[in-house]
Each structure stands twice: as C-alpha cells, then as structure tokens.
Symmetry: C2
Subunit: 343 residues, 2 copies
C-alpha cells in the first residue's frame, strides 16, 4: 500500500462525505446525479490528503481541516470540468468526462454549481474571510495558467482570442522567455493549487509559522509533479499511468517541459520539422513517432527530469523547516512517492 | 430622462469604477480587455441602481452599498456570458457577445474570472460572510433557473442531459404543473437576482427590518419584468426594445408566459400545430407568423399582461411597508417604469 492509499484509507470516506454535502446543498433531485458525477469518478484525492496531513503536521486536528480539504478537491474538479470542455476531452480516469456524458452546455451549468459548493465549504472553515481570499487567488491563478497553456499551443485553436494572442510566434525566437513563460504557466496551472492545499492545512491548524514552509513544499511539489507529468505526456506509459505516447504532441503543446528543453538543443532542420508536426491540424501516429524521434536526439528527457528533481529537492528542504513528526514524514513520503515513479 | 437614466447619471460612474476594479484584480495585461468587454457593452445597470437606491431608502449611505451593487451587476454579467455560450448567441445589446468576439472557450475562462471578481466584491461588503451566503444562494438559483428554462425548450438541444430530462413530455398533459414550473423557473432565473439586488441594499444599510419588504419588492418586480419580457419575445417591438417578433418561438420555448397561457386555451388542432412549430429544427419566419396567429386567437397576451400587473401590484404593496421618503419613491418609479412600457 503506497502512502496515498494509506492516507486515503484513513480519510477518504470523510473527504467524500464533505464533497457530497457541499455539492448537494439546495440541489434539485433531477440535477443531483449530474452534479455528483465528476467527483464520483475517482481520483487519488492528492490535494485534500495534503491539506489534512499538513494540518496534523502543524499540530492541528484533521477534522477542523475537512472543509478546507473539500475546497481544494472541489477547485480541482471545477477546473477539470471546464478543462475537459475546452480540450473537447472524452475520457478522464477511463470514464466519460462530464461533457461527454451530459453535453457541453450541461457541463457549464454543472461547473457553475461547483463554484458555489466551494463557497459553502469556505463558510465552514475556521476563518471564512481568509479562506475566501486564498480561494479567489487560487482559482484566478488556475484560470490564468490555463489561458497561458492554451496560448502556448502551436496550432489547433479556432477561438479568435487564442489565435490572436498566440505566444509561439513571440517566444520561439527567445528561448529564455519561452522557458520562463513555461515555468510561470505550470506555477499557475498546477503548483498554485497544490501550494494552497498545503497552506490550507496550516491555516486550518491556526499555525501561521507553518505557512511559509508549507507554501514552498506545495509549490515545488506541484512544479515537480507537472514536469514529470509532461515527460509522461511525451514518452507515455500506458501500463503504469494509462498515458499514451505523444499526447502533448497531438495537442500541439509548446507548453511541455520536454518540448521546451528539446527546442533549446535542436538544430534548425530538426527544429523546423518538430514545429511543423506541432502545427499540423491532425497529428498522426507516424507524426508522433517522428516527433519523439527528433526529441530523443536531444537531452530533453534527462534535462526535464533534472529540473523536476531540482524542484523536488527544494520541496523536501522546505519541509525540514517544519521540524519532525510522523505527519511531516507523511508529507515527505507523498513527495517521494510523487517523484520516484519510474521515468 | 427616465428614472433609470436619472439614477444612472447619479451613480453610473462609481458603479462602473467598482466593476473595473474587481475585474482588474491580478488580471494580466493581455487578458484585461477581454475580461472588461462584457461589462463595457453597456446595459441599464438596473440591478446595482436598485441596490444603491434601496440602501438609501433604508437610511443608509449609498457608498457603503457600492461593493454589493457591484456584486449584483457582476452576477448578472457572469450569467450572461455563460447564457450566451449555451444559447450560441451572437449579439447582445447590438454588440457581439463575448463568445462571438473571443470564442466559446475563451469565454469560459472569462466567466471563471467574473466569479472571482464577485468574491473580491464580497470581501469589501459590510458583512462578507452574510453576503457570501446570499451570493451563493443567488447564483445557484440562477443556475437552476437556467437549467429549467432549457429543459422547458420543446426541441433543439443535443446535450444528452437536456434531451433525457426534457420537461415538455411530462408537463404538457398537466397545465397546472406546466404553469407552476414556469413560475418557478422565472423566480429562479430572473426574480432571484432582482430580489438580491434589493435585499443587498437593506443589508448594506444594516437595516434588518427592511429586508422582508425589499425582498418582496424585488421578487415581484423580477417576476413582472420577466413576464413582460416574454410578451416582447413573442410579439416583438423592434423600434422600442430591439426585439424581433417570435424570438422565443424560434428558440423552441415552452417557458414563455404567452406560450404557457396559450396552451391552456387552444383546441387540440391549434395546439398540435403550435407544438409542431416549436418542435421544428429550424423555425422559419412563416412558421413564426403562423405561431403568432395561433396564439393571437387566444387571450394569452392579455392574460400574461394581467399576471404581470398582478406581480407589479404585489411589488408596489411591499414597498409601502418601507414608509415613505424620496428613495422609496425612486424604487416605486423604477417599478412603474419597468411595467408601464407599452405592450
């Protein structure tokens, strides 16, 4: 049993009860199933487990942190519902996405509902005003991160906004700017919420001195997590993670650590070929194979991995400032489990 | 100068400054124009003007009510952004909708941003926890109202959720249930927010005794407003309101007061013909003409108008409980202006 399974067996039932409670507030009988569906499709509950464990690591009672744990899991699912609409995704966790099951427009009404469930959870935290402020900052960060992620796609969008503001043409001639924009994007899209999950533990435990170390722990864990995910989204691992090879190539992404690192090294000819594949309306399996071949000529995979491990090290170092107890150990194990999946 | 123009000249600038302030919080330079666009397309600012006038009617300072006024206008625009996506609308207030200008998926990211601007406004109210609770209730009400409105469409939706849960087949055999569902739908979709606009005035003025009368004033004003809008959405008035004849016929709506009242009176043959027009994938201008002809055989227009006037009377009666001062007079004038447009 890995650490997340262990923690899930301890807290999973209570977390799920909270999610259902906040989502069910005032819901009509005929809407309920559609509203609950997204959180019922599973997921590891990484973020709420971090919140509860962080609260205990700061000397708090995990039960006080349950509403905050619900907030971060609901924010995660709120963003997934809309991301899946925007990416026209059919499957998530091997099940139909909300939009695939109920339709895009129904999914919008469901997404709106999630945000008010978050508000209900905020009202049950120890300090609703402080949690409301952090929640708004976090959702804005994710929204901005998603915007940058789409603007970093090299092709494939029809929305006038995304076409007119594409970042590729501006950033491809300046690798430093591209790399910095990439890191900013993943800080917002992924790391901000994992940071908030950890900080909410400290806030729930009323332990202000824990906020800074937990903020750093969560931020760097989130960054490491996303870079490792990017590696999987290029090289794939169907058996362990259900990830197809070249998912991010098919999705025209420049905003992938491996692609960014490859673009630094590639000669003009290979670079043009990779970009022309990313720019194709439909990317075939042969295209993917060719793109991965080109990328594999470089040290991009190793360099991305090195960046991830650097982030992980910073995360672990932040943790050491929390002192030591069994819950700090659990947080460390969550980090190690997240980054030592085999790559 | 009508009452709304008068109030707008008094408060319009300050309201707009608030909207821009909350929407601009943390927005990136390249996203700002797209975020501001929806509120910059105009609108009468009916809801925030009600909030500010209600605050003064309760003896409060309008400036304390400015964040609350911003909340209701932002909620209104938040719902419009998503409604326009769901209705695939191209024009609003004779300008391109957000989705038409920036694309559906960009519009979703903009909608998410509006909700966090609302949160910022909540944090500047006199009692953030109370305003947060009312705001969540109001947004949920609008969301549920929109759901019911779509489920009352007789055809035209592809989303599995809306197809499977269609209300027409269940309600057409029971006119009372159809009417009750219609009233519930407009209570949620339209009246809930106008009620909140009025109640937020009392809450901002810290005048608990004003809440009940203002709640009733807003609710019934909202109901009257929507029924009158329904009349325009069947019979049209391009010159005064920019409303085409038969808009709601083209949109397959059973959830229109005139259609509901007509269905009560029509004989089997006319009823079937009206329903068959509402069920057409594409409703032509000849179809609209024929539908309006059928409806005009009944007293539906007069009956809908009578219902609206009945709601308006209840709204005015609630107002009388507030006592009398010049701001109560302004609220009365807002009501009269809203319902004595020529029908």
């Amino acid at each position: 049993m890995d650490i997340l399974e262990k923690l899930h067996s301890l807290y999973g039932r209570e977390i799920d009860e909270q999610l259902i409670k906040y989502l069910s507030k005032e819901v009509s009988e005929e809407f309920r199933d559609a509203v609950i569906y997204q959180v019922s499709t599973g997921g590891k509950r990484l973020r709420p487990l971090i919140t509860l464990t962080a609260a205990r690591a700061c000397g708090g009672d995990y039960r006080v942190a349950l509403p905050a744990a619900a907030i971060v899991e609901l924010i995660h699912n709120y963003s997934l519902i809309y991301d899946d609409i925007i990416d026209e995704a059919l499957l998530r966790r091997n099940k139909p996405t909300v939009r695939a099951k109920y339709g895009d427009y129904a999914a919008i009404l469901i997404g709106i509902w999630y945000r008010e469930a978050i508000e209900e959870a905020i009202l049950e935290t120890r300090d609703p005003i402080a949690f409301a402020r952090e929640t708004a900052n976090t959702i804005r960060a994710i929204d901005e991160g998603e915007r940058l992620d789409i603007l970093l796609e090299y092709a494939g969008r029809r929305d006038p906004y995304f076409v007119e503001n594409r970042l590729g043409p501006r950033l491809l001639s300046n690798w430093e700017a591209l790399y910095n924009t990439y890191v900013k994007m993943i800080s917002l899209k992924t790391a901000a919420l994992i940071r908030t999950a950890a900080v909410f533990g400290a806030m729930s435990a009323n332990a202000p001195h824990c906020i800074k170390p937990l903020s750093d722990y969560g931020t760097y864990l989130g960054l490491a997590f996303q870079v490792l995910d990017d590696i999987l989204d290029i090289f794939g691992d169907v058996k362990k993670f259900g990830k197809e090879i070249g998912k991010d190539i098919k999705e025209h992404k420049l905003g992938n650590a491996v692609v960014v690192m490859a673009l630094k090294e590639l000669g003009d000819k290979d670079r043009e070929e990779l970009l022309s594949i990313l720019g194709k309306t439909t990317v075939t399996n042969d295209d993917v194979k060719r793109a991965v071949e080109i990328i594999s000529k470089t040290n991009a995979r190793g360099n991305a991995l090195r960046i991830a491990m650097d982030f992980a090290e910073k995360s672990e170092r932040a943790l050491s400032e929390l002192g030591s107890n069994e819950f700090v150990d659990d947080l460390r194990e969550i980090l190690r489990f997240t980054v030592t999946r085999e790559f």
